[in-house]
């Protein structure tokens, strides 16, 4: 019997989809047989295929690139020939070289790895068959979220297994630098993009022409991470717009009839890189991607990582979504192959679409019981977790309660049905033995072992050790945060403003969205809908009563409201701590280099003194988000200089802090109109 189960669906995704474990068959038949299977993908769009060499030549021959090359030559004083040679070099470094043989090799290796790491890899078959149809009709852009390096080839692997065209994949250049592996990835369809391209005009030109040519020529489906990078926190990352714009431009300019975007949600019970990521957030530099590093990491392969879910979302048509959002006539008066600065309208449209895709990815993510447990564990005081332990019974009861709430809120929950609830939770905890352990009916937070001398650790070191575990736990909580965040922000608004007026609540809700828009994903221009959604969800679970103008608390809702409030509290505390840093530090101008360690030191100090309760304030991710929030709210301005220097407007920061704590009303915030669009 094939191992399948049903998940509960949500709008924009498949109702009631059926997942199938694709490892099931691999465990029964030969891996080599799978790798050497006859691979006959349906032709992509039925077009006669073009070769990699033809594709690259088309890029180099394009009017656009010729034009930019002439411009660059003029600016730098070098000859056009030299510039074109440079462009050629860039393209060589960048371009993929998709070959069936390497897809097979990749297939073989990945079968081995996946079988070792995961008990199952679940794929929603309905999504896959819709994808199959879409691939014969329109250009398809696969847009997965990025939570682990394991994501990288898994979609190609699924395509290979189910006879679908294998995509070309946008990857970061560090991967290309890995000996052997880089070349294997390249031949499996990866193309490589430099980080921090900055103002390198020629590089931008080659990249955008390359991407657009792939889209225009129907070379192959394309896969890219709209979040731009691997999320360090397992939370969705604010989408990057450059690549998205390149992909959409052929549609905007009428060069293609339509483009189909397929959001893909990949979720893990347990992420391979969990502790690495937590360390990174605490300021330990990320190890360089290298082949030896990869081999060293192979000890990680010994562990059990539960299962992985790949959920293919409903294909969405760019043409349909952009209806009324973009006036394509704006491209009529300038030759389409000349560089053209995107209009504000186009930028807004791209941003909106990118956010929308990330939201669909979030809704398609499968939430594990462990993520709910993590939400609750984080609400217990850290001292309890590290020393006394939390009663297992209490945790399981609360988790079951939270399960109902998550379902009420439309969460896409995976809760195995054949086993008893307590077994489900025990096995979840067991998989996550790196974070919690269970002893004598209590749950404890695992403290990282110091392998060397068991000498007494300093107070600061101990904070960091606890921090690592808390941040790991927080990451798993983050997996389900999108389900609760809207009602939770409304709860916070209710709590801070102490008001029942819808208008006031809306104003504060809007402020919170502004403040947290790097932290959580909000679709630009959907503020009112988000507010309405928050209201209706709280009403649905019986936490509030709502009439025309008023939102009033219900007696039954206390548990829900206090849970939701506590869910957001770590963020509020962290933000307040950093506001305090900005107000208290002496200088008017700070650099990013100074800022991160200084904040971490302050946080450590405050944690030790007991003034600060959340270890999440240690996370560099949160710290960076605060910085961009303050920039957005115009309390901090980035200076035009080489290093990242920021000028702080202390009164403005203080005002924001006061609004957040409810000391002054939201109206005191001077928000520029349309700052979010």
């Amino acid at each position: 019997m094939t191992h399948t189960y049903r998940g509960s669906g949500r709008a924009g995704l498949y109702q009631d989809e059926e997942f199938m474990d694709i490892l099931e068959e691999r465990r029964r038949t030969s891996d080599l047989g799978h790798a050497l299977r006859s691979f006959k993908p349906l032709p992509y769009l039925g077009a006669p295929p073009c070769s990699v060499a033809e594709l690259n030549q088309a890029v180099l021959d394009s009017h656009f690139l010729r034009h930019v090359a002439r411009e660059v030559a003029m600016e730098t004083g070098s000859s056009v020939e030299e510039v074109r040679e440079e462009a050629c070099g860039i393209l060589e470094e960048m371009s993929q070289n998709l070959q069936l043989g390497f897809i097979r090799l990749m297939g073989y290796a990945l079968t081995k790895v996946l079988k070792r790491l995961f008990t199952s890899v679940f794929v929603n078959m309905e999504g896959l068959s819709t994808l199959q149809q879409a691939m014969q009709q329109t250009r398809v852009i696969l847009m997965p979220n990025h939570r682990s390096y394991v994501d990288f080839l898994v979609i190609s692997y699924i395509m290979f297994t189910y006879d679908l065209p294998v995509p070309v994949i946008a990857a970061g250049i560090p991967l290309a630098g890995m000996k052997l592996i880089g070349e294997i990835l390249r031949r499996s369809g990866a193309f490589f993009i430099r980080r921090a391209i900055g103002s390198d005009k020629l590089y931008w030109a080659v990249l955008s022409e390359y991407v657009k040519t792939i889209v225009r020529k129907e070379f192959a489906p394309m896969e890219f991470y709209v979040e731009g990078l691997r999320s360090r926190t397992l939370k969705s990352v604010t989408p990057k717009l450059g690549m998205m714009h390149m992909v959409l431009e052929p549609y905007f300019k009428g060069e293609v009839f339509d483009i189909t975007l397929v959001p893909v949600s990949i979720s893990y019970d347990r992420v391979l890189e969990e502790s690495l990521l937590a360390h990174e957030l605490l300021g330990v530099p990320k190890p360089k991607e290298s082949t030896t590093g990869l081999l060293k990491a192979s000890k990680l392969l010994q562990d059990n990582y539960g299962s992985m879910h790949v959920n293919f979302g409903q294909p969405v048509s760019v043409r349909q979504l952009c209806e009324g959002k973009i006036n394509r006539c704006q491209y009529n008066l300038i030759p389409r192959d000349l560089p053209q600065k995107p209009t504000p309208e186009a930028q807004a449209c791209v941003s909106w679409l990118a956010h929308l895709i990330v939201r669909i990815q979030e809704e398609g993510s499968v939430i594990s019981p462990w993520s709910l447990m993590a939400c609750l564990l984080l609400q217990a005081p850290v001292a309890v977790l590290t020393e006394d332990g939390l009663p297992w019974q209490q945790l399981t009861e609360r988790t079951l309660w939270l399960k109902r709430l998550a379902l009420d809120f439309g969460g896409h929950l995976k809760w195995p049905g054949q086993v008893s609830d307590s077994d489900v939770m025990s096995s979840s905890a067991a998989i996550h033995h790196s974070v919690v352990h269970q002893k004598a009916g209590r749950v404890y937070l695992v403290q990282e072992e110091e392998p060397e001398r068991r000498r007494a650790v300093s107070a600061e070191q101990s904070v960091m050790r606890t921090g690592t575990s808390v941040l790991m736990l927080a990451s798993y909580r983050n997996q389900s945060l999108h389900v609760f965040v809207r009602p939770a922000l409304l709860t916070t608004a209710l709590d801070v403003t102490n008001s029942t007026h819808k208008d006031e609540l809306f104003a504060f809700f809007s402020f919170l969205q502004d403040l947290f828009s790097s932290e959580f994903i909000f679709i630009p221009g959907k503020l009112s809908e988000d507010f309405e959604e928050a209201c209706s969800l709280l009403k649905k679970c019986g936490a509030v009563h709502i009439d025309q103008q008023e939102v009033t608390l219900s007696h039954m809702g206390r548990e829900t409201l206090s849970f939701l409030k506590a869910l957001i509290q770590p963020f509020i505390d962290s933000y307040q701590m950093m506001f305090r840093y900005f107000c208290e530090q002496g200088a008017q101008v700070i650099t990013e280099k100074q800022f991160l360690p200084a904040v971490r030191t302050l946080a450590t100090k405050l944690l030790l003194s007991g003034e600060l309760h959340t270890y999440e304030a240690l996370s560099s991710d949160t710290q960076k988000n605060v910085l961009s929030a303050l920039q957005r709210l115009e309390a901090v301005t980035k200076m035009r200089s080489m290093q990242c220097e920021y000028k702080v407007n202390k009164p403005a920061v203080r005002r924001i802090a006061d609004i957040l704590s409810g000391k002054i009303p939201v109206q005191m915030l001077r928000t520029p109109p349309d700052a979010r669009l």
Partner: protein, 634 residues
């Protein structure tokens, strides 16, 4: 005959002659020599009684005596499925007349899912009671009577002039639905008559709608339903004389009501032609060409209407506008001709035009080229335009239209011909590896001095060869052009079997031709599906004219409307979407059909606010009382 016909010059000449006969031949010479070429005095027929006799002219006053009241063209000419279920083209007027077209039934069934079993019959005769009684301005009528200009308020006359040939107009007529129609029709006989009529209209505040050939496809002839004044249709058909020919300057002075075929026939008799051959030339009039900025098939040699006109007269409520001389070009501020060209009857009536004429071409030759795909074909046309060596006409049909043209092949009499056809097909698809579902064909027409035509032909075929094109014979070429003359008759056949459709056009820069064609065709298919059309539509295009900086593209769109409650509405929505797609893909609002009322909504974005203001201020000055109240354009 070899595939790429070589030699047999006399045969070719015969074909060329036949082509000329198509244009001239479906008309009998007028029986009396009334319309011989000479300077003619303006003399209006004196009595009402001879209004009914056709006077031997192509277009009689009572048009419905020879033309369909609810369809295209001559009453004696139509497609039908005979008792054996074969398609047949009736009448004697065209090359295809009286022939069986065996492929048409299968094509219709295959393309539209239509069936000869399912007929959607039109109302056979006009029911006069469904026409609202005329709202006459008695004072106007009284004074008009005294001028002796013939007029009528018969229901048939009025209904005939209340429409052009948009799908919704013909569809409504077939259903017997009659909306607002003109309250009377007047037939001026000359410029002076028009001056009188316009003066009276101004005096009595009557709305005038000029009517030429009635071939509009932009709702330009529709009476504005909000118009409360008496509407008078000013039918120019009796102003149809060539007033003089100037052989020294090669110009002819012609009354604007003359229809294309008469103009060409009469000039041919003196050894001249204008070379202006829009697809509607059998019925459309010189004044109509001016008023809509018409374009002819052979514009590569002769130019479009704006290139052909040397001088013209228009009667407006402010008086007559004309230039004082016939200089070939002037630098005297904005060219006032360009207020008249494309004015779509909103400013006045064009009454007389001096236009360029040319000696009749010595030699004509059709040709065709098959390309492996549309992309290659467009690249070839672009190259031809670049080298400025386009033949009199070059048209590139896409694969669907190629198949459409093929379906119109008349029954062949000999087994030998069908054998040769089979061989050709084998050669192209099997030997040359052309995919029958991707290949497309360009049709060519060369004209001029015999040697130069042959030289020109070689040049064009050499370019085509560079783009993978194979010469495919004269026959294919000629059939392609025939298609454009019979397409409107075919639409009537379609409408007998639940198929509705229409054509529309645009112009677009070269670099966007392919993208626009693909986007628009895809949009049509997509929109039809969205709107519940049960069968995939016919969505096809051809590049029909080439220019230095771009091309004119012509689309055909038709679908089977069985199962739809309001097919015309669906049709209009899809056409609207297709136009949006054209504009979004860099195409123009119109190349030669004009704006009328159908495409008015896009005028502002097309010509900018200031542009609208300029046109409006001209209208306000020339016609402050909105006498020419058809409400086209603005």
């Amino acid at each position: 005959m070899a595939f790429n016909s070589s030699g047999g010059g006399s045969y070719r000449q015969q074909i060329a002659q036949q082509r000329l006969r198509i244009i001239t031949g479906h008309l009998q010479r007028p029986e009396d020599d009334d319309s011989a070429i000479s300077a003619v005095e303006c003399k209006a027929p004196s009595s009402e009684s001879d209004a009914s006799s056709s006077e031997g002219k192509t277009v009689p006053r009572r048009r419905h005596e020879i033309m369909k009241w609810n369809g295209w063209g001559y009453s004696d000419t139509r497609f039908l499925f005979n008792k054996k279920g074969q398609a047949e083209f009736t009448g004697k007027r065209y090359r295809l007349s009286g022939l069986i077209i065996p492929g048409l039934k299968d094509w219709m069934e295959g393309t539209f899912g239509a069936s000869v079993q399912h007929k959607s019959q039109a109302t056979p005769i006009l029911n006069s009671s469904s026409v609202q009684p005329p709202n006459l301005n008695e004072a106007f009528v009284e004074e008009l009577k005294s001028t002796g200009v013939p007029y009528s308020h018969d229901a048939e006359d009025r209904v005939f002039r209340a429409h052009g040939h948009c799908l919704h107009e013909i569809f409504a007529l077939r259903e017997g639905k009659i909306g607002r129609v003109p309250d009377m029709v007047v037939w001026p006989n000359c410029h002076d008559d028009v001056v009188k009529i316009v003066e009276l209209a101004c005096k009595h505040n009557v709305c005038l709608i000029p009517y030429g050939g009635g071939t509009s496809v932009s709702s330009a002839l529709e009476c504005p339903p909000e118009e409360t004044r008496s509407i008078v249709s000013l039918d120019t058909s009796q102003m149809n004389r060539i007033l003089w020919i100037d052989e020294k300057n090669l110009t002819a002075h012609v009354e604007a009501g003359i229809v294309g075929q008469d103009l060409e026939r009469l000039l041919n008799e003196s050894g001249y032609c204008t070379g202006h051959e829009p697809d509607s030339m059998e019925f459309s009039s010189l004044g109509g060409w001016v008023a809509t900025r018409a374009s002819g098939m052979k514009k590569n040699i002769y130019g479009n209407i704006e290139d052909l006109v040397v001088h013209m007269k228009m009667v407006t409520p402010r008086g007559v506008i004309e230039k004082s001389c016939q200089g070939p070009r002037m630098s005297t501020g904005p060219d006032i001709h360009h207020f008249i060209l494309g004015s779509e009857g909103t400013l006045g009536v064009v009454t007389e035009v001096t236009m360029k004429i040319r000696p009749m071409p010595e030699y004509q030759k059709y040709g065709s080229v098959v390309f492996p795909n549309f992309e290659q074909g467009v690249a070839c046309l672009r190259e031809i335009a670049k080298q400025r060596c386009a033949p009199a006409s070059v048209r590139l049909m896409d694969n669907e239209q190629f198949k459409f043209g093929h379906a119109l092949k008349p029954q062949v009499s000999s087994i030998f011909t069908s054998f040769v056809d089979g061989l050709k097909k084998f050669y192209i698809t099997k030997f040359k590896g052309f995919d029958p579902n991707r290949l497309c064909v360009a049709t060519l027409l060369f004209e001029g001095n015999r040697d130069r035509v042959l030289q020109h032909e070689k040049q064009v075929y050499d370019i085509a060869a560079k783009f993978g094109g194979l010469a495919a014979g004269e026959d294919n070429g000629q059939r392609g052009y025939m298609l454009t003359f019979v397409i409107a008759y075919l639409r009537d056949l379609g409408m007998d079997y639940y198929v509705i459709g229409e054509s529309f056009e645009t112009s677009v820069p070269w670099d966007r031709v392919l993208d626009m064609c693909r986007n628009v065709k895809a949009r049509i298919v997509h929109e039809c599906k969205e709107r519940g059309v049960q069968f995939p539509p016919l969505s096809t295009c051809r590049v029909t004219q080439t220019y230095d900086a771009g091309a004119c593209v012509y689309f055909y769109f038709a679908f089977n409307y069985r199962g739809l409650s309001d097919p015309v509405h669906v049709y209009e929505q899809v056409e609207h979407a297709a136009r949006e797609e054209i504009l979004a893909s860099g195409g123009s609002l119109s190349h030669h059909h004009g704006v009328g009322k159908l495409r008015k909504a896009w005028m502002r974005e097309t010509i900018s606010n200031v542009g609208m203001g300029m046109l409006q201020s001209v209208k306000d000055y020339v016609d402050p009382a909105n006498i020419f109240g058809n409400r086209n354009l603005l």
